[in-house]
């Protein structure tokens, strides 16, 4: 069945047909027809942002907390270029987005028209795919295809650039096909059974196994997390995870090792280094994880499960590659394991588990607390304690506070931790929290922030006010770009070039100026009460938590070092640990 619609009406109709309920956007000349069509209906709610970068991060938070596609609508030129950071962020973290950008009319393309930019040219390398729709006949098909491409396979952002004359043009609208068949794009989701059987064989013989899990499990859907828990229980193997995979395995489980990588726990990194079987499920051997690559887990057989064939052997060679969706592969693994045994191998790998307990006993996350000043780690522990038992969604900005959140906040469920992993985008957390809250109106959503990052996108607090989204922004304010300062201490003789946050706003007044609530706390003794006040307030809150200014984020694998060369919290002088070769690394 088809009907005649304008391009703008088609956009709205296609959004509805793809199950879209919320769009994050900002109007402008080249998208006015679409805004007019949005205005005349009530099924799709539009969230007006303050800056297009905010819209993209909101859509990311929305997508990551729901598993659905996040939708962004922006105008041509600056609207599109402002969205580029969020699109790149979504590409690196495999977040499904559809970003519709307005474009100048086709007759003006290439003439340097007002608010014209080469949107498809600019976004080509920061999207999974992009389209310029020059003909109304292609519009409906392209939008449906964009949703399919964004959400399927390894998810990612897709841009649809629509010139203004196409938005006005009349054409036939076709509804999405039940199953989209694409000529050249057909991601493989089912892992090769023979390879999975080989993995099970390796697992049945391993003496020092470890699960190294990543964002692929979250992207696969909640079922994959359940299966991971089941497989870990069935085998008795310990589990560590990347930043992007936190929540897929419960932090309260005794098999949980904590996060691995540059700021991972000692037990997680030592287990990675000394294991004889590494089961990488949905992670990509990122440089934050591997450390020095020629010393990375030297004696292990590596099994790599990934939906993207290009992830295999990209950074670390796999002994056994299984290309497929984590959920499917885990399902098969659980099934095959059950055909062999019902008893976990805890007894057989006992020496390994004991070794891990010795590493765990080092307690690499310990820190010296204080009664005079709030330690950032303490602040996160108290926050976690205050929300214990509640279903809470955490977002973060980027920097020390992000790592402390990953280290000290216990995540129990998937889709509850939204953070910028691959791109490391400061300013991600506040808008992401807004997006999460749009999707989960009654949930508790907290952005664990730093005072430097939050200033990059804090105007979106005003968006939260406008749409009555009671996000809590918990700022660990140390008056420094803490991670930059830490690296200057490590590498540059503690010369803190431009990493001091000078002329900070009064965050309490800032919140009040935008119509929200501001709370400040600088006394550890008053922290619990202040956090309670934040949680009780029925509206957006900026919480200015004044913390120890020069605290370092430890443990740490310094750049250029291996997993077994970590800096532990008691290291007195960190400034001469990194050698010349490591200094050039990021």
């Amino acid at each position: 069945m088809s009907q005649k619609l304008t391009g703008a009406e088609m956009v709205v109709e296609a959004l509805k047909d793809n199950g879209v309920e919320h769009v994050f956007g900002y109007p402008g000349g080249a998208v006015l027809p679409i805004y007019d069509a949005l205005f005349q209906q009530e099924d799709v709610e539009h969230i007006l942002v303050r800056h297009e970068q905010g819209a993209t991060h909101m859509a990311e938070g929305y997508a990551r907390s729901t598993g659905r596609v996040g939708v962004v609508l922006v105008t041509s030129g600056p609207g599109a270029t402002n969205a580029v950071t969020g699109l790149t962020d979504a590409l690196l973290d495999s977040i499904p987005l559809v970003c519709i950008t307005g474009q100048v009319p086709t007759s003006l393309i290439g003439s340097d028209a007002f608010q014209e930019c080469d949107t498809v040219g600019i976004t080509r390398n920061c999207t999974k795919h992009n389209y310029l729709v020059k003909n109304i006949r292609d519009l409906a098909r392209v939008i449906h295809e964009a949703f399919y491409i964004a959400a399927s396979g390894r998810p990612g952002p897709v841009v649809i650039d629509i010139p203004k004359d196409v938005q006005f043009a009349l054409g036939e609208y076709t509804r999405p096909a039940a199953a989209i068949q694409h000529q050249s794009y057909s991601p493989r989701t089912e892992g090769d059974l023979g390879a999975i059987e080989e993995a099970i064989e390796l697992m049945s013989r391993a003496e020092r196994p470890v699960f190294y899990t990543g964002g692929g499990i979250i992207n696969s859907g909640p079922r994959a997390s359940e299966l991971l828990r089941e497989l870990a229980d069935l085998t008795g193997f310990p589990v560590t995870s990347t930043l992007m995979g936190l929540g897929a395995f419960p932090a309260s489980d005794e098999k949980w090792l904590g996060m691995l990588g540059m700021h991972g726990t000692y037990e997680a990194n030592m287990a990675m280094h000394d294991c004889d079987l590494m089961l990488n499920i949905g992670a990509r051997f990122d440089d934050r994880i591997t450390g020095r690559i020629d010393a990375f887990s030297p004696n292990s057989t590596k099994v790599h499960v990934d939906i993207d064939p290009s992830s295999i052997n990209k950074n670390v060679d796999a002994d056994l590659a299984i290309i497929g969706d984590c959920g499917h592969v885990l399902e098969e693994m659980v099934r095959l394991w059950r055909t062999r045994t019902n008893a976990p191998r805890t007894g057989e790998i006992k020496p390994w588990l004991e070794k891990i307990e010795q590493w765990r006993a080092i307690n690499s996350l310990h820190y010296k607390n204080s009664t005079k000043v709030i330690k950032p780690q303490f602040a996160i522990e108290r926050l976690a304690e205050a929300v214990r038992g509640r279903d809470v969604y955490i977002t973060t900005e980027v920097g020390q506070h992000q790592m402390w959140a990953a280290q000290y906040f216990p995540f129990e469920k998937p889709n509850r931790f939204m953070t910028s992993g691959g791109l490391g985008t400061m300013g991600y957390g506040l808008p992401a929290a807004v997006g999460v809250q749009v999707a989960h109106r009654d949930a508790l959503v907290i952005d664990i922030a730093g005072e430097a990052s939050v200033q990059m996108t804090c105007q979106e607090f005003s968006t939260a006010i406008q749409f009555r989204l009671p996000i809590k922004v918990f700022i660990l304010n140390n008056e420094y770009m803490g991670m930059v300062r830490q690296w200057q201490e490590l590498l540059h003789g503690s010369r803190y070039a431009h990493s001091y946050s000078e002329s900070l706003p009064d965050f309490v007044k800032l919140a009040e100026a935008m119509g929200g609530r501001g709370i400040r706390c600088e006394d550890p003794a008053l922290l619990d009460e202040a956090i309670g006040e934040m949680l009780e307030h029925d509206g957006p809150v900026l919480f200015d938590c004044r913390v120890e200014k020069q605290e370092n984020c430890l443990p740490m694998i310094p750049s250029g070092k291996a997993h077994n060369e970590m800096i532990l919290p008691d290291t007195a002088n960190i400034s001469d640990i990194i050698d010349e070769k490591g200094k050039v690394l990021v």
């Binding site: 050249s184 390796l202 013989r205 064939p309």
Partner: protein
């Protein structure tokens, strides 16, 4: 268990031995849509891969498909990445490493302009004949030759023309196809 699967020890050290760069010819079947060439070229530049030669033209008109031939120089590990990264692009149907699959037929066309007088003109024509280069334009003081063949043959012809008055050269880049009855 497959025989190539080692019970212990990492593959990392075992395959790291082959870091030698090799020249490979890839054939890429793509949808002939606007921007496809920019996508391919952009991927190579963004990821730091090397392009020695790149040719593109629509080959299957009804289906709107183009064949792109890329010559690249990389280590085996990077070559594998290039192939997989190309396959990630949505409009890319298939990527074949023709060099890895066998000894492909490779041809290039060049137009070579040579100017000169007297003995040099005779020598120029004699060499052109030996190389089966065709005269496609002539004046009293110049020739333009059309020459087809492997890259090495064209290189050789050009170098012989240098002392005889070579003015300029244009080349199409490599077109390559696999031998035998199988198509891509």
């Amino acid at each position: 268990m497959s025989p190539n699967l080692r019970p212990s020890g990492s593959a990392y050290f075992l395959t790291a031995v082959s870091n030698k760069k090799e020249r490979h010819t890839l054939s890429v079947l793509v949808d002939n849509e606007p921007g496809i060439l920019a996508r391919i070229a952009g991927l190579f530049s963004a990821r730091g891969y090397n392009i020695e030669s790149l040719t593109v033209s629509e080959t299957e008109h009804e289906q709107g498909l183009s064949r792109i031939t890329v010559v690249t120089v990389a280590s085996p590990k990077v070559l594998q990445q290039i192939k997989l990264q190309l396959e990630r692009l949505i409009p890319v149907h298939r990527v074949h490493d023709l060099t890895a699959e066998g000894n492909p037929l490779e041809r290039e066309l060049a137009l070579v302009k040579v100017a000169g007088e007297g003995e040099n003109r005779v020598e120029t024509l004699r060499l052109a004949e030996a190389f089966r280069a065709k005269v496609v334009d002539a004046s009293t003081s110049s020739f333009v030759f059309e020459i087809t063949g492997k890259t090495s043959k064209i290189e050789q012809f050009i170098s012989l023309m240098v002392p005889l008055g070579l003015v300029e050269v244009v080349r199409t880049g490599l077109a390559a196809i696999s031998r035998g009855p199988e198509g891509m």
